[in-house]
């Protein structure tokens, strides 16, 4: 009897090992890891993502294959979602159903990210949001197969609000785009300003999208607030900054951009934007590691990377490593691996992906240099403060994501 049991155990072990052997070769759907970058290739946000995102993704794939000596085949496909939710969801569905795409990255506006996430969840594929900013992505709408990598509005608004008050900007006036996004940006920031002991003197709402901000800016000027918070985005932000400079508001009162990118500063020029505060999750000229990577990026793209593009590289690399470590491209296993492995590269130090999918990493409070302070092209920011990861994300207790409530 004992002998027989022994035999069965040995046989089981043998077959077990035999069954395990191919698993080490990585079980891949379609024999290939297919990454889809769904981004804005031609519209408003193509500067901060667009072609640069594709360059970053390609770099990540090439570097991964070189470092890991071609463990499996990786393919990259891309499409333009035109910043429309329905176009994005249509394309994502097609990629998942027909082309066998395993992971979709970038997703520049919140409407596209929120549209693609449930489709990916339904089909058991991974989404890694880099471009979009809404806190809903890891809030009410969170899924266990999504990672929100680069930044969100909370990090930027709270980061800027808290840090600017600390620097002495304790009276605020808000210029707010009149729709849900602007309202929530204003609310998040004014909450932190008052919590830090600052005062909110008032706010004015402008129609979205707006072109003429003169009457709103004059209100902000007459409020006498030290800081004018711009609770808007994209061209609304750049237009209000330009017009604030034209009215002579900016040298006396300072502006705080609550959602801005280095490419906005680049197109505004330092003459117009100089002196204002903003928060980003990445600045190319921060450390040797960021400079080294950014130089390689610059050689290919002729522009310095934004935090979105840097995030694409870092997240794609992290994803591919997780696929290798998990030995499969099955979404649940890969995302589990991604959450269990800390991120340590030029983009994030000791970054950790929380259960709701948010990558916790440091942010930087930046002040735009005045023209005389800048040493050359793309030398745009003073890093005024490093905002630690713990302060830059919605506290788990306040999150609306059910995944954090276990």
């Amino acid at each position: 009897m004992k002998k027989k049991l022994m035999f069965v155990a040995v046989a089981a072990a043998f077959f077990g090992v035999a069954a395990m052997a191919p698993a080490q070769q990585a079980k891949l759907s379609g024999g290939v890891v297919k990454i889809g970058i769904l981004t804005d290739l031609s519209g408003l946000y193509s500067d901060l993502s667009g072609q640069g995102s594709l360059v970053a993704a390609r770099m990540a794939i090439d570097d991964f294959l070189k470092q890991e000596k071609n463990p499996f085949k990786v393919e990259l496909v891309s499409a333009d979602h035109q910043n429309k939710g329905d176009v994005a969801s249509n394309k994502a569905r097609e990629w998942f159903e027909r082309d066998g795409v395993d992971m979709i990255g970038d997703l520049v506006t919140s409407s596209t990210a929120l549209a693609v996430m449930p489709v990916a969840k339904e089909m058991n594929r991974v989404t890694i949001v880099n471009g979009a900013a809404s806190t809903n992505i890891t809030g009410k709408a969170c899924t266990d197969l999504n990672v929100h990598y680069a930044y969100d509005t909370y990090a930027l608004a709270i980061g800027t609000g808290r840090a600017v008050v600390k620097q002495g900007g304790d009276s605020w006036f808000f210029l707010t785009a009149d729709y849900a996004f602007g309202h929530s940006l204003e609310k998040d920031t004014s909450d932190v300003v008052t919590a830090m002991g600052g005062k909110v003197l008032g706010s004015v709402r402008h129609p979205f999208p707006g072109t003429d901000f003169s009457s709103f800016l004059l209100k902000a000027q007459s409020s006498g607030a030290k800081v004018i918070g711009l609770a808007n985005a994209g061209t609304d932000t750049t237009n209000s900054i330009k017009q604030a400079a034209e009215f002579g508001i900016t040298p006396k009162q300072s502006l705080a951009g609550l959602l801005m990118f280095i490419t906005d500063v680049h197109s505004l020029s330092l003459k117009t934007a100089g002196g204002m505060y903003l928060t980003e999750g990445f600045y190319w000229d921060f450390s040797d590691a960021t400079r080294a990577w950014s130089k390689r990026f610059f050689d290919q793209h002729k522009r310095m990377p934004t935090m979105v593009q840097a995030g694409i590289y870092s997240s794609t690399m992290h994803y591919l490593k997780a696929v290798k470590a998990a030995g499969t491209d099955e979404a649940k296993a890969v995302v589990r691996k991604m959450k269990d492995t800390p991120v340590n590269d030029f983009f994030a130090q000791n970054g950790r992906i929380r259960e709701d999918g948010r990558l916790l990493h440091d942010f930087y409070l930046l002040q735009v240099k005045r023209p005389a302070e800048s040493k050359g092209p793309w030398d745009y920011y003073h890093v005024r403060q490093v905002i630690p990861a713990a302060d830059a994300a919605i506290p788990a207790a306040k999150s609306e994501c059910p995944l954090l409530k276990k």
Binding site: L41, S78, G85, S89, N90, S111, Y179, A180
Partner: protein
């Protein structure tokens, strides 16, 4: 007038619809095409057969999309009830918009519908349940009549095709009914229709409501296909797109809007990866060429060659 060639046309349409997914054409793409084809047919009923150019039809598409999405996702309606609720709300909205707009004719009619639709756009932007600029996502496809699983693409495809056909044949019936003949009389010569004793405003209002409700049917079905409703549906671009589909396919023809919808959606789908937002410019160029070279549209010109109305 209504000769045998029409039946060949219907047979070809139904045959294509039944066989296309089997032949390997991507079903989600086809479903989108059928939704827009229905939308364009509903629009054609108004512009092509009654001569009323509404520039605010996106309003009806969007109200139905949002209502269907909200009722299915938040109130737990089945898909058939969600679509019904969406269609009804579009009809009610059509009654409100129509009662105001038909008091004026021509360019003023177009401007009133545009203005009302723009107002609605900003309402959607501000409302809570629509999700503002993020849109309303994650609408479950559910079980049709509690029996048929719509998360299966094939099942959903044939439902969408059936809805399209129902709408299409309803429009066809309306056009060829005495009511439809009066509509065409209004299009040709409104004062004469009045002098013959027809209550023109009443006819206009009824056809406006009908067109709005059918646009709503298309919008609600689209929500079920993509599982989302977004501001794109309410934007005036959408109102323009449906004009383009109808004109390109052939104004006042039975099959024209269907062809137009397939051409436009197909082009958008093909070009999206390659040229991105330049699609808009290309659409504009196509529109200009259409107006300059073949003013009757694809099906209209074809009908002229065959010397038969299609």
């Amino acid at each position: 007038m209504n000769g045998g060639h029409m039946y060949w046309g219907f047979a070809a349409l139904i045959g294509f619809g039944l066989l296309a997914p089997v032949a390997g054409i991507y079903p989600t793409f086809l479903m989108k095409c059928w939704c827009f084809a229905l939308f364009a047919c509903a629009f054609n009923l108004l512009l092509g057969y009654t001569g009323l150019l509404s520039f605010g039809h996106a309003a009806f598409l969007s109200v139905a999309a949002y209502v269907a999405g909200h009722t299915i996702r938040n109130l737990g309606f089945g898909p058939e009830w969600g679509i019904l609720a969406g269609t009804l709300s579009a009809g009610v909205l059509g009654y409100v918009f129509g009662s105001l707009a038909i008091r004026r004719a021509g360019i003023y009619f177009a401007m009133i519908t545009l203005a009302l639709a723009q107002m609605l756009y900003f309402v959607w932007l501000q409302m809570k349940f629509t999700g503002g600029e993020d849109g309303l996502q994650g609408v479950p496809r559910g079980m049709l009549f509690g029996l048929i699983d719509l998360s299966d693409n094939t099942n959903l495809y044939y439902l969408v095709f059936a809805i399209f056909l129902a709408g299409f044949f309803l429009i066809h019936r309306v056009i060829h009914s005495p009511f439809g003949q009066v509509l065409q009389a209004i299009r040709e010569n409104e004062p004469r229709a009045i002098s013959l004793g027809y209550d023109v405003d009443r006819y206009k209002l009824v056809v406006f409501v009908l067109s709005a409700a059918l646009s709503g049917l298309a919008g609600a079905t689209k929500t079920l296909v993509f599982q989302l409703a977004s501001l794109t549906d309410a934007h005036w671009h959408m109102s323009g797109e449906v004009v383009l589909m109808t004109l390109l396919g052939g104004l006042g023809t039975v099959f024209g809007p269907v062809v137009g919808a397939f051409v436009i959606i197909g082009l958008q789908n093909q070009l999206a990866d390659k040229v991105g937002s330049w699609v808009q410019v290309i659409m504009g160029i196509i529109f200009v060429i259409c107006v300059l070279v073949f003013r009757r549209g694809i099906v209209g010109e074809l009908g002229r060659l065959l010397k038969r109305p299609l």
